[in-house]
Amino acid sequence: MKYTILPGIVRTEVCGETMLVACGSARGKAPYARTLNETAAFLWKQLELGRDEAAIIAALTEEYGIDGQTARAAYSSFAQKLKESGYLLEE
């Protein structure tokens, strides 16, 4: 499964917190703003790089030293939540 970022979503940082903001054409399609925890921010940056699921899970495994199954579950949960809230589109 490949996800893309809804056009108009801006990733930004305030006081070390990563935040997504719905800007321009994304207004009204995704929540105004939400923060991401460290792992979610890492995964979001992978999506920004245009990586597919396999590459993202591999990167997550390497970054956090976790097994593939755990990484897959974490990515799946992250992507599902952000898709449901409108930040991600399923290709």
Binding site: V10, T12, C15, G16, E17, M19, C23, G24, R27
Partner: protein, 248 residues
């Protein structure tokens, strides 16, 4: 300062947080709100809302809202966009002066900001004075952050022409019990960001607001006040601020 143009567009040059802006209005119902801010300085930016845009946005407003009201409200977010390059922003909250400093009560609409302010006014009326009841202007200068009035004064039309340096921010939440605590800047990031009243039209404006919010959170303390909207909640807020800020 007010010049009728073709198609009955009126323009008024106003000073908001020290920055002169030209407001263009198709409706004159709210012109009296802008008059106290009128100035003769060369405007640094022009702000207006087209009739088509007002018509498009009208259904998004509360039932019964009129085109003049929508124009008035939309001018606010567009004025904020225009102020951002000058390190000013319009912020959603009640701003009042207490002990020489400005205090911001902020929350989602309908949470009880005005009710809380009224509770303060009832009990500490001689100690406080209003700056703006809904959408004050924040000025981020090298000397610090100051709070200024604006023509957008909320449903209760509370406001004055006073300004003061910002002392702190209180984020209100409704609850069954009154409780007040300091919050870490990280905890307040998303909630406070959403109180900056800009249009979010461009990524550049988003980054400008983030930069201002970072300064805000690094400069002033923030509290969360869970409250019942009663007299005791205002006493708790007053006494907490007095103790933590003034050792009183």
């Amino acid at each position: 300062m007010i010049s009728p143009l073709c198609f009955s567009i009126m323009e008024i040059s106003v000073r908001l947080g020290g920055v002169p802006l030209m407001l263009s209005c198709a409706h004159n119902e709210y012109m009296l709100m802008y008059m106290p801010f009128a100035c003769c300085d060369m405007p640094l930016a022009r702000v207006g809302v087209s009739a088509a845009e007002v018509e498009r946005l009208l259904p998004l407003y509360e039932e019964g809202s009129t085109a003049p009201y929508v124009e008035h409200m939309e001018l606010c977010t567009r004025a904020c966009d225009a102020l951002l390059p000058f390190e000013r922003a319009i912020f959603h909250g009640v701003a009042f002066i207490w002990r020489g400093q400005a205090w911001l009560l902020t929350a989602l609409s309908g949470t009880g900001k005005t009710t809380h302010y009224i509770q303060w006014k009832r009990q500490y009326g001689s100690e406080i004075s209003i700056i703006n009841g809904d959408k004050p202007v924040l000025d981020f200068s090298d000397e610090g952050i100051s709070v200024h009035p604006s023509p957008w004064r909320g449903k209760e039309n509370m406001g004055s022409m006073r300004s003061a340096p910002l002392g702190g921010i209180i984020m209100l939440k409704q609850g069954q019990e009154n409780a007040m605590r300091r919050v870490e800047p990280k905890e307040a990031v998303a909630e406070l960001f959403m109180q900056f009243l800009f249009t979010r039209s461009t990524p550049l404006d988003v980054r400008r607001v983030c930069a201002l919010e970072e300064r805000l959170l690094q400069t002033v303390p923030v509290w969360q006040l869970v409250n019942r909207g009663d007299e005791a909640s205002a006493r708790l807020c007053h006494d907490t601020l007095a103790k933590e800020m003034y050792n009183a």
